[in-house]
Assembly symmetry: C2
Homo-oligomer: 190 residues x 2
């Protein structure tokens, strides 16, 4: 591999390892060293890519969120063919390791002054992108009063469902809630 590609592959391995580490061990258990070891990269190489712990973990959540967004758009290349399927896929964004990692980062940022401004900016960016995708895939017309807030509420519900899945496997209940709200939202957006 050319040197530039090797460097990009290393960076990518570090970012993916960082999200997995945050999701599994939380902020307190997530250091640059632990991530470097998990990614099979030297600590020096990790610090070359990400000078600080804050750099590594905020970049990691951003990178994985972008990957997930791209994957979600690819699932529905034609847009809102089936609004209920889109709603289920949007909720899925909030119940896996990415959401768990982001949650650890948000909560740590609420008590750490060094992390807080970085994570606040990241949350705004990721939130805007999730909203944009939801509007596109649902074929929602935001010029109609209330539609913007209907979509925002769906994403808030998805976040709440992610939280409910933190300590126990909430899949069964979640599937029923999503099925019901998909009906209500389909009517509201029709």
């Amino acid at each position: 591999m050319p040197k530039q590609d090797r460097s990009r592959a290393t960076r990518q391995r570090l970012l993916e390892a960082a999200v997995a580490c945050l999701a599994e061990h939380g902020w307190a258990g997530s250091t640059v060293s632990v991530v470097a070891e998990r990614a099979g990269v030297s600590r020096g190489a990790a610090q070359h890519h990400f000078p600080t712990r804050e750099d590594l973990f905020t970049a990691a959540v951003e990178y994985v969120a972008e990957e997930r967004s791209t994957a979600l758009r690819a699932l529905f290349p034609e847009g809102a063919a089936d609004r209920r399927a889109v709603i289920a896929a949007l909720v899925d964004l909030y119940t896996g390791p990415l959401f768990r990692a982001a949650l650890h980062l948000w909560v740590a940022a609420s008590n750490e002054d060094q992390l807080r401004p970085r994570v606040t900016e990241l949350e705004a960016h990721v939130g805007r992108e999730a909203h944009r995708i939801a509007v596109d895939l649902l074929g929602a017309d935001e010029s109609v009063p209330g539609v913007r807030e209907t979509v925002q509420g769906l994403l808030d519900m998805a976040r709440g469902l992610g939280l409910a899945n933190l300590l126990t496997d909430d899949t069964g209940r979640r599937d029923r809630v999503v099925a019901q709200w998909a009906v209500l939202l389909d009517e509201a957006l029709a």
Copy 2:
């Protein structure tokens, strides 16, 4: 004050201080000593009431959740007079210091084996009680298919709104989302 009342007052001060402490400093910054000092109680007295840190903080979140539930029921003694006002009050349960404290406890429990079973049980209990209050105050008839899930989705949305309020003041956006979802719910439950 008789001795029994004094003991109950001390216990109550400790529980309220524990929730405030968790909300402000997170799990890592919340110890029995810090809470005892905040409550103006000796460390020995605190440990007499709550032998372990886990005892203190799980009891605190449970106690404050019960206080909030009682206060919420008292706000609407007649039940669903105005469903939109009930929905706004339910959402308010998830955006103050209690939710913030609970969130820190849930997230800590996801990485700490000692805390996890206690908090899982607490979450189930608090969640059931919130659902029961919501059903009562909204006058929701759960024998109708879908109604149970409609109410559950509202509480999931409220949890997501609480999370969105963690790093920034989300009041303006939240009010608009709640106003719109109140319309959707009012139609769905009518």
